[in-house]
């Protein structure tokens, strides 16, 4: 027993030492340089989402060099401290708490999947801490009133499909929700650079209305937040365009065989097939559509999977002439977009895509806000972010409030098409690099 109590005390004291003496990264001993300004970036660097986390991290680093070459933050270098969320909310929260308390960062950036971003947003809300989201796309992240009791009531009301005077009721409830969220709104410092998922497919609407003019559609989506929300918003698009949705179906990620469902689609013979999927499900869907001889007027991807280089490598000619919504493309005539794309390819010997662009742009937004902030207190940084009005490779950035959203950057989305193995901007027409190919002779394309 004596021995074991000795061991207990040893273990306990060991734990306490770890807890109390763990080093404080922010106090770096270097003296000849001015102290850096620390910003914490939370990203999934391991786990399921690591691929995109990595692209974002590399883009952050690429942008950081530029920022510091331009003189950093008013003479002080900017330092990004990366923390791995492993794609899990509780760990993501550990990472955020650590960055704030241990590394004493002045603000947070990053945030990949919605669940992790939401968990980190919780930390940011509690502390009134500035957090610039650049990927997490769940609408609720920039809708602080949506979580209040009245906000939830509005949500239910909208879902209930009761048409009679719900607008006045909603207006009433919105006011109430704002009051309920007042204490939060006053210190709400979460900003989002990327559009929310419900707006991803907006760009495609005009393309469909003006070019394809479909009568019927089938929607297939992955059973994830991205997939379901993307599909739901496209369904609304269809309703606006008067397109009849013959079938809307979701599936679990990682299915081997889509043929049964695709055969069903073939039976229904829709004008367009809209798919909201990640990269390899996307390529399987296209490959198996080709195998089945499923030839609608147009295949439309809801972003994500359909715009990645891997999609074309895996799907091959089955990917040809497929169009997709996208948030960004290197050929968009925003200053620096192409330059970033080339730099990334040169430096890392691989292609980047819109996630990377979001991260790259976010770095400049962070730097810009910090340069303008009177001090590095959360309130001042928040004010600086609120006044953001700048051009980035991801488009103009300005955080506005509309609908239930606050601090949301509003951006158009674009349409791209795989033409001869290259992802090409085709819509809006004034930005198009090349004219779209429509109608498509599918059997010819897939020879």
């Amino acid at each position: 027993m004596k021995n074991s109590s000795l061991l207990i005390s040893l273990l306990l004291s060991g734990l306490l030492t770890i807890v109390s003496c763990s080093p404080n990264d922010s106090k770096t001993p270097s003296t000849d340089q001015p102290d850096p300004v620390n910003v914490g970036i939370v990203l999934p660097l391991t786990g399921k989402h690591a691929k995109f986390g990595e692209i974002e991290k590399l883009s952050f680093e690429l942008a950081l060099e530029k920022v510091n070459a331009e003189g950093g933050i008013n003479g002080r270098p900017l330092k990004l401290i990366f923390e791995d969320t492993t794609g899990k909310p509780d760990i993501g929260r550990s990472a955020a708490e650590k960055l704030i308390t241990q590394n004493e960062v002045v603000m947070l950036g990053g945030g990949y999947s919605s669940s992790v971003t939401a968990a980190i947003a919780g930390v940011a809300i509690n502390k009134g801490f500035p957090f610039l989201v650049n990927t997490g796309s769940a609408d609720i992240i920039t809708e602080p009133t949506a979580h209040t009791p009245s906000g939830k009531k509005i949500d239910r009301l909208k879902k209930s499909n009761k048409s009679d005077d719900i607008t006045t009721k909603i207006a009433e409830l919105t006011k109430k929700a704002e009051k309920e969220a007042e204490s939060i709104l006053s210190r709400y410092a979460i900003f989002r650079l990327n559009p929310p998922v419900s707006e991803y497919a907006n760009g495609i609407e005009s393309f469909l209305a003006q070019v394809v003019k479909p009568q019927t559609a089938v929607i297939l989506n992955e059973n994830s937040l991205f997939g379901t929300k993307g599909a739901a918003s496209f369904q609304k698009t269809c309703a606006r365009l008067g397109v009849r949705v013959l079938l809307k179906e979701s599936y679990d990620q990682g299915a081997i065989d889509f043929k049964p469902i695709l055969a069903k689609v073939k039976d229904l013979d829709p004008d367009i097939v809209y798919m909201s999927s990640y990269v390899l499900d996307a390529s399987l869907l296209m490959k198996q559509s080709m195998e089945l001889g499923l030839n609608p007027k147009m295949f439309i991807g809801g972003g994500a999977g359909f715009t990645l280089p891997e999609f074309y490598t895996a799907a091959g000619k089955a990917a040809e002439k497929v169009i997709s919504a996208t948030l960004w493309h290197q050929s968009i005539p925003f200053p620096g977009a192409m330059e970033y794309y080339d730099d990334f390819a040169k430096r890392y010997n691989r292609e980047t895509e819109y996630h990377g662009a979001e991260a790259y742009a976010a770095t400049f937004v962070i730097a810009d806000a910090l340069r303008r902030a009177k001090s590095f207190s959360p309130e001042e940084i928040r004010d600086a972010l609120l006044k953001t009005d700048m051009e980035t490779i991801f488009g103009p950035v300005k955080f506005i409030s509309y609908g239930a959203k606050v601090h949301q950057n509003r951006l158009p989305t674009y349409v791209v098409q795989w033409i001869d193995g290259k992802l090409t901007m085709i819509w809006p027409e004034n930005l198009a690099k090349q004219k779209y190919v429509y109608p498509v002779n599918w059997p010819e394309e897939r020879k």
Partner: protein
Amino acid sequence: MKKHTFGIVIAGILAVAPLLIDNDYYLHLMILALMWVVIGSAWNLLAGYTGQVSFGDAAFFGTGAYTAGLLHDHLGWSPWWGLLFGPITAIMVAVPFGWICFRLRGAYFALATLALNEVMRHTATIMDGFTSGMAGVMILQSFTSKIPYYYIALALAILSVVCVMAVMGHRSGYYFLSIREDQDAAESLGIDTHFYKMISLAIAAGLTGVAGALYMNYMGFIDPEVVFSLHDISIMAILVGIVGGVGTIYGPAIGAFVMVLAQELFRTGGFGVITSLAESTGNASMITIANNMTQAHTLGFGILVVLVIRFMPNGIAGDWEMLVKAVTKKR
């Protein structure tokens, strides 16, 4: 009594801990660890003491979490009611499941729980009109400070350990053990093994449901992949139990702290010790090593799990004497 002194001392230390360490990061880790104490103790009651290994604790955890979140979403109630109703719904899931599946023994039962876990996850995803599906449930946290959450988590952790202790000192405790040791013998001694397995499952599900409700309140956001996660909840619960010591009162509690701290230690490269060492020396190769270390943290964690099971199969509490010997011998 000796055993209790250990528990009381630890509880005492934990009760005053927030006064000593006023740091949100450490408090956050402690809250997570305390939550795992609840889940680990529950798993241990069912698996360690009753011998019915569950691979599906997330089914109950998620049910508890969703109860808290949906009460708020649909009825506008405070999510704290989840602490009361979470366990009730979790038990409502557990009892019919147990009634049907407890005719299965050993590994087959474990597989059935695994299936339950997956069924619950899919259900929560598919019923998106009710659960909001993958969009998840988000609530605003009630407190901006961590202290209230800490004490609530601590209270629940102590409650669960005391609850397991009380049950094990009672008639059902003896029955649970006898079921674990030999179900036929137990049956021949007049024990309704099916019934008592259900009791054990119900208590475990209830406790796990409480932990789920706590998670909802504390984290503020849940979705099916998070709270019904086979890997992050169900398997983690087992690891907490195994590492700490199966079939011991304090084992799961020890396991919870060790696992949460170890995970964080690996993730941050020893709370940043290695990175800062590398940076202070400015040695390029050191920095690469540090980067690789943090890259490989999940691997390190996996290796730790393999080593613990290989060399300490009874866990820290179970192999305590062996540990003590190993340490004292070296002196």
